[in-house]
Symmetry: C2
DNA sequence: ATTAATTAATAAAATATTTTAGTAAAAGGC
DNA sequence: GCCTTTTACTAAAATATTTTATTAATTAAT
């Protein structure tokens, strides 16, 4: 069967339709559960499914055979594990569907494509793009996506869904973006769907990164995880019971704007005293420039004016053992650590993953954070919380976007 | 049938046993679902159940009849709603099982008993008891519980389970209490089970109160709720997606001990700068005494030495329009409000319920809290968050304990 | 290498569940 | 007050699912 994705989508729509008599509806819901199990745990055997779903072997066999006939599922040969007759293992047909992930950074876009079996099919990194809150910037974005699809080996109609990350405030349930591209009556997700022809889910960048680390990075197999996106601003993605937590209107996790300091620095958000005003990449950049202006030495300043110094330069300087940069990152780390201690007391998570530009300084920021946590959070609570650096780094966003699109479609519960 | 609880428990154990052939197992699990639906939404009809569970009417009819034969369910007559032949409504048999709730306060205990249908069967409030971390205090507690059962009209063997609240750190999954009664190898819940003969679930007091407000108080029908227990200390109960959130090891919600102030006041927990050090009943009491000592006037001091002033006196003074008390509670409210703004930014809840002793001052504490929230939390985030006063007040704990015991047994998912 | 033990797969028999069709009960319009 | 419409309930027929029994495939032990 050549156009299996068409089959897949027709099949899926069919499963979705609830206007069936009881038994067809039941079979469909069992089929969805089977797909969900296959999607979650890779390849499984018929006895496995039978036990897990408490449905007899012949029944499961019949349904799996139907899924095979629809080319959604395939027999992948015999299991290798011990004693007794070896069962056939079944899995999803990888190329019967693809999922696109689009991660929009400050000055570039990363795009990725995964298949039904979570394999990366193709990527394109660092596509130049400037995100501004204007219509032409949105148009350009759509063109970049369309070009990527046109250039990829996968036919466009095999792409089942797309996940797209934006910074700022996003309600991923309704599909509205409030900080960028809020031009139309319709939600941004609907606009993108119409422009690209692909079912679209939008998500806040930090949340998508959190999801990426949860599915394929540092937070695999954990259930309650906080992901901190330490960049110019501070974002947070919250995973509770293995699912992204959104709060009432999708804005949970505004860690950067908790009233944490008694200072007079006006934050991006308009308030003063936000955590971000003293503990963020932006704060670090300001601090660094001030220090340089007041005469401190650094390897950076050899060929750069203070006002041209970017966060990336400072991060690089830390890696190059620049003393000023190291001192300042430690200062930021100490303050962040006190904030993280607050998070630990409130969420008692099993893991906190540090990502974003600042996390690239690894031990330089990790140690002051850890010592602040010990100082400021309850011992009984923090002993169970691990602190880890991001594993996916700058790929966390794309990976998260791909998987969000996939899981929204496949693992809908 | 006289001893229906015995039947209920035998029946329940039977449902639990997983060593059955497929079909009996399936029927049992559907029966459990039926009980869970009845328990959740009161009385329902057979067509309702059929639609909800996607199981044919004759099958549901057969299972409901079995449940009736077991006297777990009863036919409660015809529905009153419109058009067409009126269906029979079925519900749980109220007195086939009871659930005990024990709420341990600083100097007294409240005990309550509800039946399967959530009706309050009996209560006993303000039983004198002093909670100390000693064996004889635990023994006394067991005696009080046994006496309550002996004196109630309900035979002890009809009590299916008991919920018990304690302040301090509790892991309700394992049943261990760390702050009180941590004498034995076994979890406290097991000790209590052996001492009283009743299946016991222990819970942190603030969490139980949160659950009470969620099931039967100010937070009915909400899904993401924070409950603040504003007393000598500050406790928090978190409800996410309609369920109590515990965190990795059951300590989530340590709001009172977030590092919030840059002061030198040593907290109960040993750290300094905790929110509790300046924004709690304990802080209020200290402040009040200091003010009195330094010459401020108050209606309280007429017949009391400064060191004898208790939190309850100050709360009463606020209600009696005492200016000093009102000023100080507003000061506490402002600081608490800033802390709550942090919670709103992090959790984006739909509702925050204020309970505990301080909440009894109602508007006097509510207004400064609300104005601090507006000042310190992001507008886009806080517009969706309602702030309400507790509806159950000092009953929140007992009610929560009863319902927790009930729901742990009945709505196990 | 043959046999015993273990687990998978399948066919047929036994059982269960859903459908269908018909009856019952209620409300509202004429 | 009768007829139409709507929904509930029930019995029997039709269909589906599980059980049981049998065969197949594999490992480990003799």
């Amino acid at each position: 069967m050549t156009d299996s994705i068409l089959v897949f989508m027709i099949f899926w729509d069919d499963l979705e339709s609830e206007s069936k008599p009881g038994i067809a509806l039941k079979n469909n819901s069992i089929k969805k559960e089977i797909i969900s199990i296959l999607s979650l745990s890779g390849n499984v055997t018929i006895p496995d499914l039978s036990k897990k779903l408490v449905i007899s072997v012949p029944k499961i066999t019949a349904l799996v055979n139907e899924l095979i006939a629809d080319s959604i599922v395939s027999d992948y040969g015999k299991s290798t594990v011990a004693s007794g007759r070896k069962p056939s293992v079944y899995g999803l047909v990888a190329d019967s569907g693809f999922f696109l992930g689009v991660d929009i950074k400050h000055s570039h876009i990363n795009i990725g494509l995964i298949d039904l079996c979570k394999n990366l099919a193709s990527t394109s990194k660092h596509i130049p793009y400037t995100l501004t809150n204007e219509r032409h910037s949105l148009d350009e974005l759509c063109n970049i996506i369309k070009t990527f699809i046109a250039n990829s080996a996968i036919p466009g109609d095999k792409i089942v869904a797309m996940g797209l990350n934006l910074s700022g405030r996003i309600n991923s349930t309704t599909g509205y973006s409030y900080s960028f591209f809020h031009f139309n009556e319709d939600p941004l997700s609907v606009y993108l769907e119409q422009a690209t022809g692909i079912k679209t889910f939008i998500e806040n960048d930090s949340r998508a990164m959190a999801y990426g680390e949860y599915i394929a990075g540092a937070a695999k197999n954990e259930k309650n995880v906080l992901f901190l996106n330490l960049d110019y601003g501070i974002g947070m993605g919250i995973i509770i019971n293995g699912q992204l937590y959104y709060g009432k209107s999708g804005f949970a996790g505004e860690f950067g704007h908790i009233p944490f300091f008694d200072n007079e620095i006006i934050c991006q958000c308009g308030k003063k005293g936000c955590l971000e005003t003293e503990a963020s990449g932006r704060a670090l950049t300001h601090l660094f420039r001030e220090k340089i202006k007041s005469g401190y030495a650094s390897i950076i300043t050899k060929d750069m004016a203070p006002e041209d110094i970017k966060l990336s330069h400072i991060i690089q300087a830390v890696k190059d053992d620049d003393v000023l940069a190291i001192d300042l990152i430690a200062e930021i780390g100490e303050k962040l650590g006190k904030g993280i201690a607050t998070l630990i007391n409130l969420y008692n998570p099993e893991l906190i993953v540090l990502g974003g530009a600042l996390a690239e300084t690894s031990e330089y920021i990790l140690l002051p954070i850890k010592s602040a946590i010990n100082k400021y959070s309850l011992n009984l609570v923090n002993t169970d919380t691990q602190i880890k650096l991001s594993q996916l780094n700058e790929n966390a966003g794309v990976v998260g976007a791909c998987f969000l699109a996939r899981d929204r479609v496949l693992e809908a519960r």
